[in-house]
Symmetry: C2
Subunit: 339 residues, 2 copies
């Protein structure tokens, strides 16, 4: 079971997990970098952190560009910190000022919060392959959760536009709207109504805010009765007015999730998702290692490239043989045993 | 091996593949819809089409918004049709006029080309989960290739910004620039130089086009000597001037790929990628079916959700047992046999 070098790697991961659990932000930041880089060392730490995962309230913040998501997240973080809970902000939206301004450094964007030991900020560059971003953000949420941050704010792009589906990650989905964005209410009609747990109508000092909030409330009233009706909170992230009310709405939603059993259900769904992903990776890794060790993998690839074999039927055959304990050698060398 | 109902499904897929190979655009369009929806029936058709895949020249078209990608693709398609080859256009960029204008219908956008039997157009809505888009586009490329389209133009967003990495899909990556876009040359510096096989400087009738082309050529000249130096073609997609020259540059690149053996290498890489993806899916599908039939899957998920087991170690154990032919039953019921 243990490979050569596994023992030092395990000890390194243990030291790392300890520093992270002791509140060292640098250990947490480095772990998230390894998660982004899909470094196997990240899994070694995450497996040790697993018993600590599942405490944080994860809030996904989404909405159209120009609605003021980033300003609102900063205001929410400030309000939370004033009340006590520690906060982690994960910014995933590549068009966001929080993410896009990576060159500015966190200090300038977060102001006085940047030196607060109870606040952790991290943006995801989403350069290169986005394929792994969803997984990386889910693991980063687990990392900050295990590190003890009580509230996790994940800023993503609009629902349906992003590979990172905010409702997969979050307990509570906060949709941020603003008046006079034109498409906002249309976008709400198109799908945000289904994903939103709480609506924030930002820029409440501008004309039209009341009307925007009223339209959302009217649309919510048209649907069937539901166990949770998303509150619509008017506020100004810039002045801070109404931010406390938004925080209370988010807390009410968390209480609803716990009381209704949905919190536990979410945890089971997330566990099933994670176990399925990891099992799939592990099966493929082990299967490829076996086929390569046998020297048959390259022959199969050649057969597909020369169009002698179709990859659909071939992958079914290989999977059946591998899972039946057969060798996966080329056709004819033991096929009957595998089937 | 054959399940109940497999025979009618096989016959349906055969009829479909026949209609598609006979040039029925509706059969092709319907197959791509099933590919997007991840319907298993799509695999049944694709496995029959596999022997016909690998003939088309696949050109990925990328570049900044405002460079005129969509207009250029329409002009390229028109030029190709005038010379003879059949053309399939797959539009993946969600911000593109070709894709974004889905409400307009293909007819208006493509003008006289829309009634041309030698031209196929399809846009990808990229609604919902983008996770599967890369795979869907790769399968759609295979479908139009098998259907006999000789040139496939895939319009994607800029390199590094999209999950659909154009260079994974395409034989030839065409980067479209335009003068006075400001960020274009910066973007080129940042990564387009590495992915581009051909540069098109569009809007050559505007001031600054010559300078933009000159800057790209100068940057290309700075690098190490390479077997293929990307040509920089100035043109106007709007007037059509220079489009023939671009087409010749694309054809020269195809000839280079074939003569240098890179065409075959690309085919093998694509086959390896596809076989790996399909094998991973098939292993996971079969493994989950087995664990669920045993009744152990839900117990494992609960153990992870209750944080009694970490999913990293557990997935390794399960994979090892499944591939060793053991049962994957809960810990203690045969673990020694599995390990």
């Amino acid at each position: 079971m243990a490979s050569a070098g596994a023992e030092p790697a395990r000890r390194a991961a243990e030291g790392w997990a300890e520093r992270l659990l002791a509140g060292e932000k640098r250990a947490l930041a480095r772990l998230i970098t390894l998660i982004e880089e899909r470094d196997p060392a990240a899994s070694d730490v995450l497996r040790l952190l697993h018993p600590r995962v599942g405490q944080a309230h994860v809030v996904g913040v989404t909405g159209a560009a120009g609605a003021g998501k980033s300003t609102l997240i900063t205001a929410l973080a400030r309000e939370l910190r004033a009340r006590g809970p520690s906060v982690a902000v994960l910014a995933v939206d590549p068009s966001s000022p929080l993410t896009g301004g990576a060159l500015l450094g966190d200090r300038i964007r977060l102001g006085d919060l940047s030196t607060d030991p109870g606040l952790f900020f991290r943006s995801f560059a989403s350069r290169g392959h986005l394929g792994g971003l969803s997984r990386a953000v889910a693991d980063a949420v687990r990392a900050v959760d295990a590190a003890g941050y009580q509230a996790v704010l994940v800023e993503t792009v609009g629902a349906g536009q992003s590979e990172v589906e905010v409702s997969e990650l979050a307990h509570t989905t906060l949709v941020v709207l603003a008046p006079n964005l034109g498409d906002d209410v249309q976008a709400a009609k198109a799908g945000l109504l289904e994903v939103a747990d709480v609506f924030a109508v930002n820029k409440a000092d501008l004309p039209g805010a009341r009307e925007t909030a009223g339209e959302i409330r009217a649309m919510l009233g048209l649907g069937p009765a539901r166990p949770w009706t998303p509150p619509v909170v008017e506020l100004s992230a810039r002045t801070g007015e109404g931010v406390a009310g938004l925080l209370e709405a988010l807390e009410r939603h968390r209480d609803f999730l716990v009381a209704s059993g949905r919190w536990g259900e979410k945890l089971r769904r997330s566990a099933a998702h994670q176990l399925r992903d990891l099992l799939g990776e592990e099966l493929l890794r082990a299967a490829l290692a076996r086929l390569e060790a046998e020297g048959s993998w390259q022959a199969w690839v050649e057969a597909v490239a020369r169009r002698e074999r179709d990859p659909y039927t071939l992958s079914e055959e290989l999977a059946r043989r591998l899972l039946a304990g057969a060798t996966g050698r080329p056709r004819g060398e033991g096929e009957a045993r595998g089937l």
